[in-house]
């Protein structure tokens, strides 16, 4: 027995040490294949020693925690184990495990329960914000619509786990949709159409993903087009019988996150066009990509040369993706921006694109961003004007396309000397060049003004100071005045006072 106990102790020690060194050994010897990362994010990179040792240690610790060998294998085993043993989510704050193999986005539960209703003040804020957006757009000949997409929990509550208890049958969706009674507001309620077709024999949302499927997206699109056709009779939805409805197997994002995609494959409802498609990829403007959104997803442009006339701008989230193929058959140009769930009225994009229609397509759960980040422009602010800017040397300013500088050396106003003047509150303004870049005082080097900014943030806004006799001066956000350098004829934002070289004359170009 003593010998046996000794052997057992040795085996115990070796097994313990074996598990301790397993990741390091595998990192060097690669005897176990590493699983793919199912986290939908880029892992931390190995830090370089740049700053302090303390900072480096912290960064290295974080890096190691994120990257140790076999981490993804361990996580996958654990996720699967927890799911199969307990039928629970390994990421309960992200995925809620429902009944019958249905998974839900956990953050929607509060809304479904009725635990986070908008206050009266918030509903009023919504009303004012939507009126402001609609009026501002209308003044520019654009129709603005807010499209609400309902949460999966509201559409398919029958598969929710018993733990989610509804305390109210009024959702945030209803609160916002009720604003449609105001004739100045255009809200497109796609939920009605989805509910109408919910029991037609095919599901409209995916079991294992938080999104709708192609049929759900179609009914969403159908409702949008039906509403748009009231204002634009030439727009009509593509009939469903022009599409084949089929089923394909794929993996939903939530099943992947729980590492049970193979156990719960998605029977995905797919539509196939029976008609000839005319919409195709268009040329992108290259709007500045936001941090969390990859370049291919940030700006999508579709064009259709098949006799279409209208232009549409969509400020979207992920629910729009499955509708694009239908929309692209309806519009001459379709520009789709993912505004990182902020759903802002992107005046810079709107001014450049000049669309006929703006669709703000918003998942109900994220709709609060609309009032959290309100539109900064006044509905009654003056329309944008095309202007020429004459500097103190009597020459017109020109956006220099190669060096992106602004040079005052032209005798006449042609296209490169024409700028769109955008006016904001408190006498602030911005200049948009003909090649769709804003003047910016986010200067480097010698302090030249550049014409190379895609968005009109603080750096691109100038205080317009009237000096009389049609002369003006511009104060940049760095506190300096816009100034002409006589030698190079270049505009700088470096002057502390308004002198002769800081005076400009603005001419409206018809």
């Amino acid at each position: 027995m003593k010998v046996y106990l000794k052997i057992l102790n040795i085996v115990m020690l070796v097994s313990f040490l074996g598990i301790l060194v397993l990741p390091t050994a595998n990192e060097n010897l690669h005897f176990i294949k590493e699983n793919e990362n199912s986290e939908n994010r880029t892992k931390l990179k190995k830090p370089a020693f740049k700053d302090t040792l303390e900072k480096f240690i912290k960064e290295y610790d974080d890096y190691y925690t994120d990257n140790f060998s076999l981490r993804d294998n361990f996580i996958k085993i654990l996720n699967k184990l927890q799911f199969l043993l307990f039928n629970v989510s390994s990421v309960p704050d992200i995925v809620t495990v429902g009944k019958d193999g249905w998974f839900y986005e956990a953050s929607c539960a509060l809304n479904y329960k009725g635990a986070n209703h908008f206050t009266k003040e918030e509903v009023e804020k919504f009303r004012n914000e939507l009126i402001k957006r609609t009026k501002w757009a209308a003044k520019r000949g654009i129709k603005y619509y807010l499209v609400l997409v309902p949460n999966k929990m509201e559409m398919y509550p029958e598969h929710l786990p018993r733990q989610i208890i509804q305390t109210s049958d009024v959702f945030r969706y209803d609160q916002i949709a009720s604003l449609n009674n105001d004739s100045t507001i255009n809200i497109i309620d796609v939920r009605k159409n989805l509910l109408k077709h919910k029991n037609d024999g095919r599901e409209l949302y995916q079991h294992t993903d938080d999104h709708w499927n192609e049929l759900g997206a179609y009914y969403g699109y159908q409702e949008i087009m039906n509403r748009l056709s009231k204002d634009f009779p030439e727009l009509k939805p593509i009939p469903l019988d022009m599409l084949d409805v089929g089923i394909v197997q794929r993996y939903g994002n939530m099943a992947t996150m729980l590492n049970v995609e193979k156990e719960y494959p998605e029977q995905y409802v797919k539509l196939t066009e029976k008609y000839k498609m005319f919409g195709h990829d268009g040329i992108k403007k290259g709007y500045k990509t936001l941090p969390q959104i990859g370049e291919p997803e940030y700006e999508i442009v579709k064009e259709n040369d098949n006799g279409k006339k209208l232009k549409c701008l969509i400020i979207r989230d992920s629910f729009t993706m499955l509708m694009i193929r239908f929309f692209q058959e309806q519009f001459a140009k379709l520009v789709i921006i993912h505004d990182q769930w902020m759903y802002r009225m992107r005046e810079d994009v709107i001014i450049k694109e000049k669309p006929d229609i703006i669709l703000n397509i918003v998942l109900e759960t994220r709709a609060k961003s609309i009032i959290d980040i309100p539109f900064t422009l006044d509905a009654d602010q003056p329309l944008e004007e095309n202007v020429g800017i004459k500097a103190a040397n009597g020459k017109y300013c020109c956006a220099e396309p190669n060096r992106h500088m602004v040079i005052a050396d032209k005798e006449k106003i042609n296209s490169w000397e024409t700028f769109t003047l955008v006016r904001y509150k408190n006498n602030e303004c911005a200049f948009l060049s003909c090649h769709n870049f804003f003047f910016s005082s986010n200067i480097s080097g010698n302090g030249e003004i550049t014409a190379f900014s895609e968005i009109a943030s603080d750096w691109e806004r100038f205080k317009l100071i009237e000096l009389g006799n049609r002369f003006v001066a511009f104060k940049a956000s760095n506190g300096k005045y816009l100034s002409l350098d006589e030698k190079t004829k270049t505009l700088f934002a470096t002057a502390d006072k308004i002198g002769a070289n800081e005076k400009f004359k603005i001419t409206v170009v018809k």
Binding site: V11, V21, N40, D61, T65, F68, I75, Q163, Q292
Partner: protein, 478 residues
Amino acid sequence: MLFSSPIFIFLFLPIVIFLIGVGRKSWHNVILLFASIFFYAWGALSQTPIFLFSIVSNYCFGLLINNADGKKAKLYLSIGVTVNLLLLGYFKYFNFLMENINTLFSATGAKPIEYSKVALPIGISFFTFHAMSYLIDVYRKKVTVQKNLLDLALYISFFPQLIAGPIVRYIDVATQFQKRTLSLEKATVGIQRFIFGFAKKVIVANAMAYLADKIFDAPIGEISAGTAWLGIIAYTFQIYFDFSGYSDMAIGLAKIFGFDFPENFNYPYIAQSIKEFWRRWHISLSTWFRDFLYIPLGGSKGSNAKTIRNLLIVFFCTGFWHGASWNFIVWGMFHGTFLLIERIGFDRVLSKVWKPIRIGYTLLIVMIGWVFFRANDLTAAIDYLGKMSFTASKENVQMFLIEYLDTKTIFLLSIATLYSFGIFRWVIEIIKKIFNTNKNAYQFIFYSTKFIISISLFFITVLYMAGSTYNPFIYFRF
């Protein structure tokens, strides 16, 4: 560095075990000392000089106390203890003091004092208490002074007990620095203890913390009374499994390196009085306060009034030691008050009632105390207790008990209950009795099963540790 972090488990620990395994015995203390300082510096590099200062100054004070006698030794002891208390006072309590002064000032309309916040060095509560116990025991001639700076440094900095205890008294380990056994049997006992503590922390305590945080962080009006009770039950388990898990890991690690640490927990939730609770909970701290504060104050030898004073001082200090906040002071005084109530006669009443009632009473007091310990401030604690009393308004309640009780939570709550109330221990004792015969076959089954369970538990805990780093992003690249 936390014991439950991947860098500790997969890099630090195997490297230290390897170095001890291949290093000469005479190098072991040096290896462990450097490993401990590295362990500390990894988590708090900028605070390491304070830590090193504490080691060197206590080494010097130890020598001074030892080499002097009578009043001089007492003077050196007083200076040494004062230096430790100043370190602790400044780094742990300065912000709290200033916040309270400024609250007073603003109440009287005076301008608040501007001050820079002081960062709390990791483990300062533990290493200052280690050091003070050493100085006092040297003064009392209970231990021989440590003339080897490296050995004293190892005592204060030894990484298994550095950041979360137990508060190992120098007297308990003094001889082990020069003479200790490293054996296969001891190492495997240590490994099993470490695995057990690791699992308590990573599997149970973390799950309970998730549940308790969800409930305690919710607006109080939205939780039901049942949910409030679940929240405090989860926290009761969280703090026990977390703290005792760390102690188990520390005791286990120490054993792997040949040291024997005293026990720190002994099933505190089966205590039958608050007095007994403190004999079972954080034993190293309560014995420290008993030996270095309560007894020097006169203990229970004087009048009743003096005993009451001494007890309240000790429990004030116990509460305040846990954190610089009024919550902890109230928690300490709350326990002190019930200890007094028991002392003035309630213990006689308790002794006459049925054992489960005694346990129930103790547990109820302990859980109410944990509300003060966990809540963000005193107002939140009072509100939470109001909710637990079933008397609060139910108008805005949106978070019901059932919402938190999924199968995994029920399973872990059951495990936590069975373990905390000693039922597992009882079952294991029975099994041991059955198998503890001379029959080799029975022993074979018993030890093999124990081995398989330990290693499986370690692997599962490693999975949970990896799982705790899982941070998927739902939207990117849709």
